[in-house]
Every structure is written in structure tokens, then in C-alpha cells.
């Protein structure tokens, strides 16, 4: 094969993934009998004791965990088939938070789109807006100004830290390190305060829009961010003291929920879940978008593919993101924060007062929206949970014909039955937590 890129930079260092290993993993996934093939209704009716079957299967218990369970991060329901304390088969049941956002996206104009998609992955809303905006811009064939690119990079990385902080908090709480919840929440709140100062909202920002961002960075943003970034490293040291080195913490996570690189690839798992296996794949480095090709950062990988690796990777990714944010602050260029293309950009507020045409233009853009050329496009970005993709189909009108979001949480959830196979029921919480699903993203 004509390799344009050194193959040693992708995959594991010691044992590179090849097709034979992938085939073996696919075979293993097909035969490990980890997925409980039972409808949600049937699981409800049959929950409880299961007598031995004629085929020689012993006594089993079917248990429904969730959807109202504090450690399922919202409304995830797990149907577990138990043999004593061990999970033999399981199945995640989802849809409790389904609100038809892809259908809603078809009713909204491209300008209104970000208000809808931002509510999907509510822990990392800026990435949803980013991927939708990038897809729209691809269809329009426009390029946003440099400063807007840098602002987007900066804001997304701040959002990545806040999202990983949420993971740190909930992961700690799920495993009994309740004080961790308070620390994680405290740090996250400081970051959200910065996001609020820039975008006006703590969550669901609608800040990144087709054509650029909604507003320029406010005065004093750098000092505000500096004050947060200055204290974060020492707070992370505290996390290390509290969790990373703790024997109880390690006992709970090491060797729990193990997956191999080939299995993760076969199941299309992405993000920290894939990287925990030692397979270095990060869209920011491998298929760069925004300004990531001008930034210096490392892709953090694990080596065992267990819950502990997934925890450590996220902790290390916070440090990497701090590095990225610092570089963005240094390199932030002057210029426009949105494209000056009359087709997609409303006129400046001051112009509306003095020009009838500007008023009409403004009115048209916000009522009818702008028309997007016919075509279809798939754009993907690396969100804190993996590959977040947006597939947009346009028929030339101001509303998309189809707006599909490839949600990393939704896809990653398929690994759960395989991660939980033959593990103890007490580890379920640790495993679900380490996959870090956001139910808004799963159900959309």
C-alpha cells in the first residue's frame, strides 16, 4: 500500500492492529454471548428468578437497573442477566430521553440549527454547535475567518476540560469518593463561569454558528481564563492524591471492564474508550480541523484498556487541553469573529438603525434563513467522548432535508455488554461510569 503517513504512528506501538486480528476480534464479539437479546417489554415482564433451562443453562436472575438509578448518568436502563453475583449477559435499553431532535432539525433553518443540536450532548454543547456549523459551512463552501477558527478552538478546549471535570466528579461519586464530586463540580463551575462570560449562558450556548461565532471574546477574557488556568494544575495534583495513587481506587478500577483495540475498532468505539487500549487515534491530530495542526499537544493512550486507563486518560487530557488553551491564548490573531458574507451574516446592529435595506436583510436572514446549495456532507470532530459527526443533506432550501448526528455516546454504549461480560454486579457502576455516556447524546 502506498503509505503517505508512517504506519507506526497509528495503532499500538508494540503490536500493530492488522486485519487478521480484527477478524478474530469480530469472531470473538459474535460468539461471546454477551448481549441479552430480549426486548425491553419482555425484560420487564420476566424480571426476577429464571429457572434452569432444558439446554443446560443454570438458574439465572434478570434484573432491571435504571432508568432511575443515580449512577446511570441520567436515564440509562440496563437489563442484566445474573448468575449469582456475576453478569452473564446484559443489554442497555435507551430512548428515555428521546425527543426527536433530528426531526426537529429538519424544521429549523440552518441559522436556528445550533440552538437545537447544542442540547444533545449537554456536557459538551460547543462541540455539537461546531460540528453542525462546520457541516453547514462545507455545504455553503465558505471559510470562516482565522480569528473565528481560533476562538472556536479555544472555546472547545475549555469545554473539553469542563466536560472531563464532570466525568471526574461523577466517576468519583459513583465509586464512593464523594468528596471528588464536590471538587470536580467546583472546577467545572469556574470553567462554566468563563463560558458564561463569553457566550452569555452556562450551557446550551448557541455560540458557534454557521459563519463564525456569535460574538467576539469580551474584554478581560484572557485575564479571566488565566486566573482559572493558573489554579487548575495544582487542583489536578489534588485529584491525583485523592484518587490516582489510592489503593482502594486502583482496586476498584484496574482490570475492570477490559476491551482490546481490535474489539473497540470492530464496535466503532472512539475517544478515550478506544485510546485506553493503547490505540492512538484522535481526530484532532490525525485528521486535523480548526487550528489543531498549528498546536502542539500529545494524544494520550492507555495500555490495558480497563476502567483505570479510561480515568487516567481523561485526567491527562485535561492537562493537554490546558496546554492547548494556553497556546490558543498566545496565538489568538486579531480580525473578524465571523465571516463578512452578506449571504449568511446579518448586518451590524448600528446599520439597522440607519438603513432600510439593512433592516430588511436582517429580517430576511432571521425569518426565512439563508439558502444552502444542494448537496450532502459528513463532518466529524473529536468531542470529549469520541467522534462526533454530522451528516447534512440539503435540497437547496433554507432547511436541511436530513440532519443526522453521529453521537459518540450512542455508539460507545454498544461496548457495555462486552465490557460487563463475566464481571461482578458491583463493577457495573464503575464500567458504565468509565464509558461516560451522556444520555442526551445517546437518545437525541
Amino acid at each position: 500500500m502506498s503509505q503517505t503517513i508512517d504506519p507506526t504512528t497509528v495503532g499500538t506501538q508494540d503490536a500493530a492492529v492488522d486485519l487478521a486480528a480484527l477478524d478474530a476480534a469480530r469472531e470473538r464479539l459474535a460468539t461471546d454471548d454477551a448481549v441479552l437479546r430480549m426486548s425491553a417489554t419482555e425484560a420487564e415482564e420476566r424480571s426476577g428468578y429464571q429457572p434452569p433451562t432444558d439446554e443446560g443453562m443454570g438458574e439465572r436472575m434478570i434484573m432491571n437497573m435504571g432508568p432511575q438509578h443515580p449512577s446511570t448518568h441520567g436515564v440509562l436502563r440496563l437489563v442484566l442477566e445474573l448468575d449469582g453475583e456475576e453478569i452473564t449477559r446484559s443489554r442497555p435499553v435507551i430512548g428515555y430521553l428521546h425527543t426527536g431532535m433530528e426531526k426537529t432539525g429538519e424544521q429549523l433553518t440552518y441559522l436556528q440549527g445550533p440552538t437545537n443540536v447544542t442540547r444533545m450532548d449537554y456536557a459538551a454543547p460547543l462541540f455539537n454547535e461546531l460540528v453542525f456549523s462546520m457541516a453547514t459551512e462545507e455545504l455553503l463552501g465558505i471559510e470562516v475567518p482565522e480569528r473565528a477558527q481560533w476562538i472556536r478552538t479555544l472555546m472547545c478546549e475549555v469545554n473539553r476540560i469542563s466536560s472531563h471535570m464532570l466525568f471526574m466528579a461523577t466517576n468519583g461519586m459513583d465509586l464512593g469518593a464523594v468528596s471528588m464530586m464536590l471538587y470536580g463540580w467546583r472546577e467545572r463551575e469556574e470553567l462554566l463561569r468563563f463560558l458564561e462570560a463569553v457566550t452569555g449562558l452556562r450551557m446550551n450556548h448557541n455560540y458557534i454558528r454557521p459563519g463564525g461565532v456569535a460574538a467576539d471574546l469580551p474584554d478581560g477574557w484572557a485575564e479571566h481564563l488565566d486566573s482559572i488556568l493558573d489554579v487548575l494544575p495544582e487542583r489536578l495534583e489534588e485529584f491525583d492524591t485523592l484518587m490516582t495513587g489510592q489503593p482502594i481506587w486502583r482496586e476498584r478500577l484496574q482490570g475492570v471492564g477490559v476491551i482490546t483495540a481490535e474489539e473497540a475498532l470492530s464496535l466503532a468505539a472512539t475517544g478515550p474508550l478506544l485510546r485506553s487500549t493503547g490505540y492512538a487515534w484522535d481526530l484532532r491530530r490525525d485528521m486535523p480541523y480548526l487550528c489543531y495542526d498549528q498546536l502542539d499537544f500529545d494524544v494520550v493512550v492507555g495500555s490495558y484498556g480497563d476502567s483505570f486507563d479510561r480515568y487516567s486518560i481523561r485526567l491527562a487530557e485535561i492537562r493537554e487541553s490546558i496546554r492547548i488553551v494556553r497556546q490558543c491564548m498566545d496565538k489568538m490573531p486579531p480580525g473578524d469573529y465571523r465571516i463578512q458574507d452578506k449571504k449568511v451574516t446579518p448586518p451590524p446592529r448600528a446599520r439597522i438603525d440607519e438603513s432600510m435595506e439593512a433592516l430588511i436583510h436582517h429580517f430576511k436572514i432571521f425569518t426565512e434563513g439563508f439558502k444552502v446549495p444542494e448537496g450532502e456532507v459528513y463532518v466529524a470532530v473529536e468531542n470529549p467522548r469520541g467522534e462526533l459527526g454530522c451528516y447534512l443533506v440539503s435540497d437547496g432550501s433554507s432547511h436541511p432535508v436530513r440532519m443526522h448526528i453521529r453521537a459518540p455516546s450512542f455508539v460507545n454504549l454498544q461496548t457495555l455488554p462486552h465490557l460487563m461480560k463475566d464481571s461482578l454486579i458491583a463493577d457495573t457502576v464503575a464500567i458504565v461510569s468509565s464509558v461516560d455516556p451522556i444520555m442526551g447524546d445517546v437518545d437525541r
Partner: protein
């Protein structure tokens, strides 16, 4: 196109012009087009599963995403090559080649009268949930799928909400209702 699957990525010379009918460019034996600079393959419903299997052996290890599209009410060719007949539904699969850092996309035309395609579960187990979702929301069946049940909607739900002819329904809002009545009277 060389034998090992490496292709010239130039926009005008994708694949092997002259091999298909009416001098249509083809790649991996199926018509190929580009959309916004992205490579799109148009396999037939019968050849679709085989093509995904072949692409997997050529390095497209990861099936990133599968979704369905309902194109009821859209007119025109929708960017399809001349030899592909537009149908109401499309199943769209996004594949990713990690080694060469490239993507490709498959668009399969699925007729309204027989909305069935082969399941890719045997080739890429990671598409199981996506196929269930497409079945749930668009009513496209996947032949050979191990568990084609509803995934996002309740088991007893009737209909497929992402279809264009599905009624969206509305919750009455107090003031809107008042405005409607005022307009009628």
C-alpha cells in the same frame, strides 16, 4: 485505480473514467461521485454488503456511522450518477481508513415499495445500534440483523417518525390556540 486500492485523489480524475456506462467514473466497481470534496460511492442494494466487506479488507476498518434518509418530496438528481436511479430512501454508510486517514461514503438507494437492505452486522458489529435506529425511525429493515427491534421509541410505538409523510403532531399551546381561534373567527 491501482490493484491495492490506492487511488488518485484528484477531484477530476477519481477512479477509472471510461469503465462504467456512459463514461461514468467508477471506483471499486461502482459509480463514484464527489460531494463537497468528499468521495461518495453508489453501490446497488445487492452489491452493497459485498462492497463494505471488500473495503474493510482494503483498510476501511471502521464503519463510523450508518443512517437513513427519506427524500420524499425532493426533486432532481440529488448528485447521483446517471446510472443510479433515485429512490425514496437512502441508506448512508460512512467508512474510515485509519492508516491512510481517509473517509469514504456509501449511498444506497432503497425503494419505498420494498424498504429492505442487507444488514452489515456480520461485517461491522458496531453498526448494530445504528441499524436499529434507522429501522426504528425510518422503517427500513435490515436483512440478517440479529435483533431488529425499536431502540429509541417504545416497543408499542406505531409509525416511523423520521419519514417525511409522518404527521409531526402538536401539543396545544395556550396562547397559540387563542391566536388560531381569533384568526378563524
Amino acid at each position: 485505480m491501482s490493484a491495492d486500492g490506492a487511488v488518485d485523489r484528484g477531484a477530476d480524475q477519481v477512479g477509472d473514467p471510461g469503465a462504467g456506462p456512459a463514461d461514468e467514473p467508477t471506483l471499486h466497481g461502482v459509480p463514484v461521485t464527489t460531494s463537497c470534496g468528499q468521495e461518495v460511492l453508489h453501490p446497488s442494494r445487492d452489491g452493497y454488503r459485498g462492497l463494505v466487506e471488500e473495503l474493510r479488507s482494503q483498510g476501511y476498518w471502521v464503519a463510523v456511522d450508518l443512517c437513513g434518509v427519506d427524500l420524499l418530496g425532493t426533486s432532481g438528481r440529488r448528485g447521483l450518477p446517471a446510472s443510479v436511479e433515485p429512490e425514496r430512501f437512502e441508506v448512508v454508510v460512512n467508512l474510515l481508513d485509519h492508516r491512510q486517514r481517509r473517509r469514504t461514503r456509501l449511498r444506497v438507494q432503497v425503494p419505498e415499495s420494498d424498504p429492505v437492505v442487507d444488514s452489515l452486522f456480520d461485517v461491522h458489529p458496531g453498526l448494530e445500534a445504528s441499524e436499529r435506529e434507522t429501522h426504528d425511525l425510518l422503517g427500513i429493515a435490515f436483512r440478517g440483523h440479529p435483533d431488529l427491534s425499536r431502540i429509541l421509541l417504545p416497543d408499542d410505538w406505531v409509525g416511523h417518525p423520521l419519514r417525511k409523510d409522518e404527521d409531526i403532531g402538536r401539543i396545544p399551546v395556550q396562547f397559540k390556540l387563542g391566536a388560531d381561534q381569533a384568526a378563524r373567527s
